[in-house]
């Protein structure tokens, strides 16, 4: 088919989905099928649709999403490993009319950054924390994380995680939900089209609550790491449903009435 034929055919049609302008044109560096860039895109769709691009500031972590600022075309700040919510706290306090979010993996938020996470939530900082839980340290070569499942093989638990040596998987999202400072705590995923739609609603609500100064909104996204898990992307999503959801079930953990 010639380009003119395609153009003529498309003229009869309307565009119902396009990459948001709030993403840069830069090609994502993530492995094929990685959930990180879906989460980036959905945050940016919400920013675009809410028309808050100029008022939004994101804080990027250390981990595979360390280059998040290359993709999300809003003001961004890089934080030291684990400290994204502390940096976001500072930004929000100085610029209270901005929409501020932190973006962190499980190694970042639930290991080295545990103290910052808990105290940010306990202070009820008026920010959105996005927490991408792939149960592994993706960036550094698939080491065990606090969120790694029991029995799960990683490069530092080659025979599978055991309680005896590494304790239990940390359900930090349930923990922060217990703190009075959090207003909205939910667990989402991006493994199906409907899950992506649900995540988008959760992010939209969180920015609305931030506008109303309600306190900390915390969204866990149960995600995949095809490379670290040593699976194809399609296999990794099936594995996620079968193995991650029993321990990390999707749904609201703390939702305002």
């Amino acid at each position: 088919m010639g380009q003119d034929v395609v153009d003529a055919a498309l003229e009869q049609m309307e565009c119902v989905y396009a990459r948001p302008d709030t993403l840069t044109d830069t090609r994502f560096h993530y492995c094929p099928g990685c959930g990180h860039s879906v989460v980036h895109r959905v945050i940016m769709e919400v920013v675009q649709e809410a028309g808050i691009r100029e008022q939004t500031i994101g804080v990027a972590p250390v981990g595979c999403s360390v280059f998040a600022y290359n993709y999300m075309d809003v003001d961004m700040q890089e934080a030291a490993h684990g400290r994204a919510s502390a940096v976001a706290t500072g930004i929000k306090r100085v610029l209270p009319d901005r929409f501020v979010f932190s973006y962190q993996g499980d190694g970042d938020l639930a290991a080295i950054g545990t103290a910052e996470t808990i105290h940010t939530c306990n202070r009820g900082e008026n920010i959105l924390m996005v927490f991408v839980n792939n149960a592994i340290y993706g960036m550094t070569g698939g080491q065990m994380a606090p969120t790694t499942l029991l029995g799960m093989k990683t490069s530092t638990s080659p025979a599978g995680r055991t309680v005896e040596t590494a304790g239990f998987p940390l359900k930090i999202t349930e923990m922060v939900a217990m703190l009075p400072g959090t207003y909205y705590v939910t667990r989402q995923s991006v493994h199906t089209p409907n899950a992506v739609r649900q995540l988008k609603k959760a992010i939209t609500k969180s920015f609305q609550y931030q506008k109303e100064r309600k306190g900390t909104c915390f969204i866990e996204v149960v995600s995949n790491c095809p490379s670290g898990w040593k699976m194809t992307p399609v296999q990794s999503n099936a594995w996620l449903v079968e193995n991650m959801f029993p321990l990390y079930p999707p749904g609201d953990i703390k939702a305002p009435k």
């Binding site: 049609m13 989905y17 990459r19 089209p193």
Partner: protein, 98 residues
Amino acid sequence: MAKGTVVFDIENCKGCELCIEACPQDSLELSPRINAQGYHYVVLVKDNCTGCTNCALVCPDAVITVYREKKKTRVPVARISGVTQNITVTIDEEGKPS
């Protein structure tokens, strides 16, 4: 069902196949060809796309644009009022009451 189509930025596709998995119409396949990154990219292989956007929603590389046929605006062909009894109205092919 609505008629739709999808356009891929094939150079940025990584052949992860998540869109293929998400398509309810089985409209997508990996091409036997590869792009400059070395990945087999996705192509639309059937004329049954409904423009549901499922593939684009799960695409980690945001390379899918989805189009759907514009909704046809319906123009009334006849107006009937003041009916007190059952009547029969037939409309010919050109949409004129006959």
